[in-house]
Symmetry: C2
């Protein structure tokens, strides 16, 4: 399996002869407003340029969108992807929003879905603590996805979730070889967070010590305050560096 | 001078060492709703794929936007172009709309403007007949542009206008070597039109017999009913075929 980390949560997986694009945010540096209510800064998003040629990201066999917040499905993605590409979404509402842009092959991941030899299974998650969601119900539903392909490692993309029972259960149920975590924190002014921070990598590692963890969703958005250097330092300190990969934008990981 | 016709009104001019992108509509086939009130059909727009690599269209020195209707400035363009590219617009309103996407170098073409060795001069136009504009005032203001570069042919991009005194005056004033006309007609159900039809090429040729005419803005949108074949047949019939070029998408013209 080849995993190309593109930027933030955007990546391309190559499994067999299939190219799978996850959570496309394809716009230029600064093409979106900053996220409000951030403990970070007010830089426009994305804060970095796309490090992978657009042509490569548009020519894919399947697209998975864990949820349609603009850092996972932006105007560029909605404008550029072929209208007939198979697009897997978490629920009817996201499917409807995406279909409104003329996409003709949108499928809701209610049950495990096979495309070619690859099986996609939706997992649950929560976009912030219970307290955060009580204050910001508009954050809405999120999902993760487990992707299985015969003869390849299994991969669990946790999505925009904090560490919680849902993640713990997904790890126990699917026993993935690879776990992709969004560890940028997305910190609010009261220091609560919308996604995982670096520290929660330790929880995931404790729950799934066999898995390789790939930490992403960092250094691309104004409100994501955790840096790659902080994650690397933490996992070295806890002597789990060999289990945790922190790819640069455009970096390819082979499993 | 190299003129690459991209699609619809989108083109790239190479003048000296400058690459100038005009009226970028960069989205995938079907990425926009059809234009309503069309005498054409209800196919989603654009009706054709982009025939030129995106990478080539984003790497430019200047962008000219004659007006911000979605077939001249789409979400893909607004998402993909570098935020600091010099962007020339017709008026403050268009400038404000584009700046809202984070573009930091938007300039209104009030007076002729020099960038490097190239001078850009705004021309006037009208997006339909007086009767059309009385019914559809929301069509709003449009512009054209004359582009001059020492040692190169001069080019007048008329923009989304019908044939009228403004076009006639621009031809007389600037005596361009090349005139780009949007001849797709954009027909309304009552058979009135928003831009030129094929027949108006004859008017332009009579007013500027020395000029080479490049006919574009055809076969890319649901409401543009004039075909390239119709234009070619008409100019052959009127024995002015050597004066009128009708490029295919992606075709390069050298002047």
């Amino acid at each position: 399996m080849k995993l190309k980390h593109v930027r933030n949560a955007t990546m391309v997986l190559e499994l067999g002869d299939q190219r799978i694009l996850v959570d496309p945010m394809l716009g230029a540096k600064g093409s979106m407003d900053p996220f409000p209510n951030s403990a970070g800064n007010s830089t426009r998003n994305p804060t970095t340029d796309l490090a992978v040629p657009l042509a490569e990201l548009i020519d894919v066999d399947v697209v998975v969108v864990t949820h349609i917040h603009l850092d996972h499905w932006d105007n560029a993605a909605a404008s550029l992807l072929p209208r007939d590409v198979p697009l897997l979404v978490q629920n009817e509402a996201d499917g409807k929003a995406i279909s409104a842009n003329g996409f003709s092959n949108v499928q809701v991941l209610k049950e495990p879905l096979r495309i070619g030899q690859t099986v996609f299974t939706r997992t649950a998650g929560q976009h912030g603590s219970d307290a955060v969601l009580a204050t910001w119900p508009s954050l809405g539903e999120v999902s993760g996805v487990v992707i299985n392909h015969p003869g390849e490692p299994s991969i669990y993309v946790a999505g925009d979730t904090v560490w919680n029972d849902q993640v713990n259960e997904a790890l126990a149920e699917h026993r993935p070889d690879i776990v992709v975590l969004n560890t940028g924190e997305a910190r609010l002014p009261d220091n609560s967070r919308l996604i995982m921070d670096a520290q929660e990598i330790l929880e995931v590692h404790a729950a799934a010590p066999q898995a390789r963890i790939v930490a992403v969703h960092m250094e691309a958005l104004n409100h994501c305050v955790v840096t790659r250097a902080q994650v690397r330092a933490l996992v070295r300190e806890h002597q789990i560096a060999e289990h945790v990969l922190v790819p640069e934008d455009g970096e390819v990981l082979i499993f």
